[in-house]
């Protein structure tokens, strides 16, 4: 075991983590700890674009972007945060361009822009070209560009260091109101050696990404297991709005691989088994470019009502065949290749089978607009920050608009990195408790101990059961009955997990161990998602309750805060910040 000391420790090296590192490492001694090599992070899988009202190709302004974000989020968005994000979007895009990002260009050499779901001009009048993009690999280019800048700036990475615990000065749940709770550091498992290390830090930034692997059908990487959310929860911190999970309308059938909304932005159309452009019925004005929650529900409903395609009538078709092959190849090369590689479908001439796929956690670790982590509805933890998908600012509310996540990671990654460095400049190096690594040692040693005989449960089985149950009962459509059903399954899965053993008993690169630890986080997060979803007896954005099919602003225009306590999940609430836009009925 080695003990390290840094001013700032950043956990995660996706877009948010690296953007934070670029800021913080200019002013403070910074380390980035990452479970994966930075360029493996899932930011690289983002496709369609990054929103900013540049007005490069048509008239636009950031205030319309704020409105779209608030409405897209079904009015659960904190409007002060959305205003910051949309205003700073323009510089965020220009900064990336100056770092070298190869955006697609207009004929006169400016950054080109295209349409995306829910982005409109003049408060919903018509779709607007707001998404800045690099073919259909915008996330790849952002990840590469930020990594390139980190290489240039000699940012210090600890690759394949898996952070498993966050050490605070005291448990925030037992801290008195007004008491100062501060960060002291993190504990990490070095995958190459199996050693456990402690990192003392004046500031810690959590930027660990999403948790899509709670579900079976997901666009998310295998490694997106909500680790940062999980360690915050275990450290006694709340998670915000976790019941709001985005199901992306167009996952590649059977696999869940993302097919960008850019396909529809470039003119693609969704069709059911009758060949009908069914989005005309659900969103008469912007049709296929309605926000993701609306389109995902429409697809699920078409399938449920017997208008699905294929032998099992369980998908719809994304139709690009009316577009010129040259246009498709130029603007959507990667996703069309996915269709060819994995389904053997030629998008030039055939519709691509698609169905909604778990894509994005709107909720996460609650933060202020400076990335400071909240320990309850009003108080922050000194020195602890979060950004990106693992955080909840909340700029996405109940449903995130496409292209707003690449924006979020850049704007709030930068802000969190800057705030972390500023905090570190005036803080003293915290002392970590002598037993800082105790919890991690206990988790690791329990899994390594014991022999894996036929009677001990396998983590892989437990994970599969969890994911299947979540897909069946907590996906696009939810009811009290379905949620209670899956909720009743979780304690049994947790009990089996407590007895589970792994087969690999080595220390080096023990990915058997790694996956078992990840499963522990997924089980904790499932509890939180389900508790929030069951309590929220309304339908809003990505959370749709068939037994409560309308939005209920009187009772639920508020953010959920969920805490893990020794007796289970407890829920609290926090008001939504409303500045300009009073909640209205949401029609497209």
């Amino acid at each position: 075991m080695t003990h390290y000391e840094y001013d700032v420790v950043i956990v995660g090296a996706g877009g948010a983590g690296m953007r934070a590192a670029l800021e913080s490492s200019q002013h403070a001694k910074t380390a980035v700890l990452t479970k994966l090599y930075p360029t493996r992070s899932h930011t690289g899988a983002a496709q369609g674009g990054m929103a900013a009202a540049l007005s490069n190709v048509e008239d636009d302004n950031y205030e319309w972007h704020v409105y779209d974000t608030v409405k897209g989020g079904d009015y659960l968005v904190d409007q002060d945060a959305a205003e910051i994000m949309c205003r700073e979007a323009i510089d965020a895009v220009l900064d990336l361009e100056k770092m070298g990002l190869p955006f697609n260009r207009t004929e006169d050499g400016k950054i080109d822009q295209r349409r995306f779901g829910g982005h409109t001009r003049e408060h919903g009048a018509a779709p607007v070209r707001r998404a800045c993009y690099a073919a259909d690999r915008t996330g790849h280019m952002i990840l590469q560009t930020l990594y390139q800048q980190c290489v240039k700036q000699k940012v210090e990475f600890y690759n394949e260091f898996y952070v498993l615990d966050l050490i605070l000065s005291e448990n925030p749940q037992s801290a008195k109101k007004g008491a100062k709770v501060s960060v002291t550091g993190v504990v990490a498992l070095e995958l190459a050696t199996g050693e456990i290390h402690t990192f003392s830090a004046k500031s810690v930034v959590l930027a660990t990404g999403g948790a899509g692997k709670v579900f079976k059908t997901t666009s998310n990487a295998h490694t997106l297991t909500g680790d940062g959310m999980g360690i915050a929860l275990r450290a006694g911190l709340p998670l915000e709005d976790m019941e709001f999970f985005q199901f992306h309308p167009t996952g590649l059938y059977g696999l869940g691989i993302l097919l960008s909304e850019a396909a529809r932005g470039e003119g693609g159309i969704l069709r059911n088994s009758e060949g009908e452009r069914f989005m005309e019925r659900y969103a008469p004005s912007i049709k296929d470019l309605a926000p993701r929650d609306v389109v995902a529900r429409a697809i699920a409903r078409e399938v449920r009502e017997g208008r699905g395609c294929g032998p099992k009538k369980d998908y719809v078709l994304l139709d690009l065949t009316h577009l010129s092959p040259e246009h498709i190849d130029e603007k959507l090369p990667d996703i069309t290749e996915f269709a060819r590689t994995y389904l053997g479908v030629e998008p030039h001439t055939e519709g691509v089978p698609t169905y909604p796929t778990a894509h994005y956690a709107m909720g996460g670790i609650p933060t202020t607009v400076h990335g400071e982590v909240l320990r309850n509805a009003t108080e922050t933890v000194d020195g602890l920050f979060a950004a990106g998908e693992c955080a909840c600012v909340s700029v996405h509310g109940a449903n995130r608009l496409g292209t707003n996540s690449l924006l979020d990671i850049n704007v709030f990654g930068r802000r969190a990195g800057a705030a972390a460095a500023t905090h570190a400049a005036k803080a003293k190096q915290p002392a970590m408790p002598a037993d800082a690594s105790a919890r991690v040692v206990q988790i690791v040693e329990r899994l390594l101990a014991g022999s894996a005989d036929a009677s001990s449960p396998r983590p892989g089985e437990i994970r599969a059961e969890l994911q299947e149950a979540m897909d069946r009962d907590a996906q696009v459509f939810r009811t009290a009955e379905s949620l209670t059903h899956v909720q009743a399954q979780v304690p049994g899965l947790k009990e089996r997990f407590a007895r589970a053993t792994i087969q690999d008993k080595g220390r080096r690169f023990n990915t058997d161990l790694l996956e078992a630890i990840e499963l522990g986080f997924l089980l904790d997060l499932a509890d939180v998602i389900l508790a929030g979803a069951l309590a929220r007896e309304e339908s809003r954005g990505g959370h749709f309750r068939e037994d409560f099919p309308t939005r209920d602003d009187k009772n639920f225009l508020k953010h959920t805060l969920a805490y893990a306590t020794p007796t289970g999940v407890t829920l609290d609430y926090k008001p939504v910040v409303i500045t300009k836009y009073e909640p209205k009925e949401r029609v497209y």
Partner: protein
């Protein structure tokens, strides 16, 4: 010696059934995997590589990565490999499959002649750490040497730097690189000469050399003109064949050579 059962016909029958009913066909396949456990002792002791065969039932649509997961989750949890996105964009799971470098998540089993055992080995030329995991540090060290970041000169403009679609087109292909190392570790020169930068580093140099916004092309070209640089390339095209992103790697290297020969970019 193992006799492979005649599975070809069964695979075809299954595919026909699949088309008719929507049921995904399944069949058995043997994966012959190169193992290496740095902590073991005895016959398969530390650093002693050996082959192990696993038989798995797979669906006709599955990738090699799915089969590796089936083994790991149901048969042998100690089987070790890197992976993340599972659809060919993160670059974690480059491995040598039936003698050719591919991403395990982009190689469909049905495309690999599943009637015979499918061999899976770590990519070559980098130190093996455990099973299919290699030490990527030497690879990233070469990448860092070519200064893989934009180096413009002059004042920072207020808005974006202008670049025409034609200017962008010149380096578009090499921006697709995901640093998976499939190209570099398929290169015979890289296998035998540890000094050679390898194709991936040159691809990433190309991405900046031909970017109209960059002003450090000649600094990079100077590095690549070195004895460890582009002149080591014997134009065997292994790299181009190996690239899971379809980058014309050999062509990119040729363009760099041409720039050095002609003094023009």
């Amino acid at each position: 010696m193992r006799t492979a059962p005649a599975k070809g016909a069964a695979t075809r029958d299954a595919a026909a059934k699949e088309a008719a009913t929507g049921e995904v066909a399944t069949f058995e396949v043997v994966l012959k995997i190169r193992r290496n456990n740095p902590e073991a002792s005895g016959e398969h002791g530390a650093g002693a590589g050996y082959w192990q065969e696993f038989t798995v039932t797979v669906h006709s649509t599955e990738r090699v990565l799915d089969a590796l997961h089936t083994i790991k989750w149901e048969q042998d949890g100690s089987l070790t490999f890197r992976r993340s996105c599972a659809h060919g964009v993160c670059g974690s799971d480059a491995m040598r499959i039936n003698g050719r470098n591919r991403l395990a998540c982009k190689a469909l089993i049905k495309d690999l002649n599943p009637t015979r055992p499918i061999t899976i080995e770590p990519i070559q030329g980098l130190p093996v750490l455990k099973d299919l995991i290699v030490d990527m540090e030497p690879f990233f060290a070469s990448y860092r040497e070519i200064m893989p970041f934009l180096m413009p000169s002059g004042d920072v403009p207020k808005r974006e730097r202008l670049q025409s679609p034609e200017q962008r087109e010149r380096f578009e292909d090499t921006t697709k690189c995901i640093l998976c190392a499939a190209c570099t570790t398929s290169c015979p020169v890289f296998w035998t000469d540890g000094q050679y930068f390898g194709p991936a580093a040159i691809v990433n140099a190309h991405r900046f050399i031909f970017d109209s916004r960059d002003d450090a092309a000649w600094e990079r070209l100077e590095i690549l003109n070195d004895k460890a640089g582009v002149w080591k390339c014997r134009t065997t095209f292994n790299c181009t064949d190996a690239c899971p992103r379809g980058i014309q790697v050999t062509e990119a290297i040729s363009q760099v050579k041409r720039a050095l020969n002609t003094g023009r970019i």
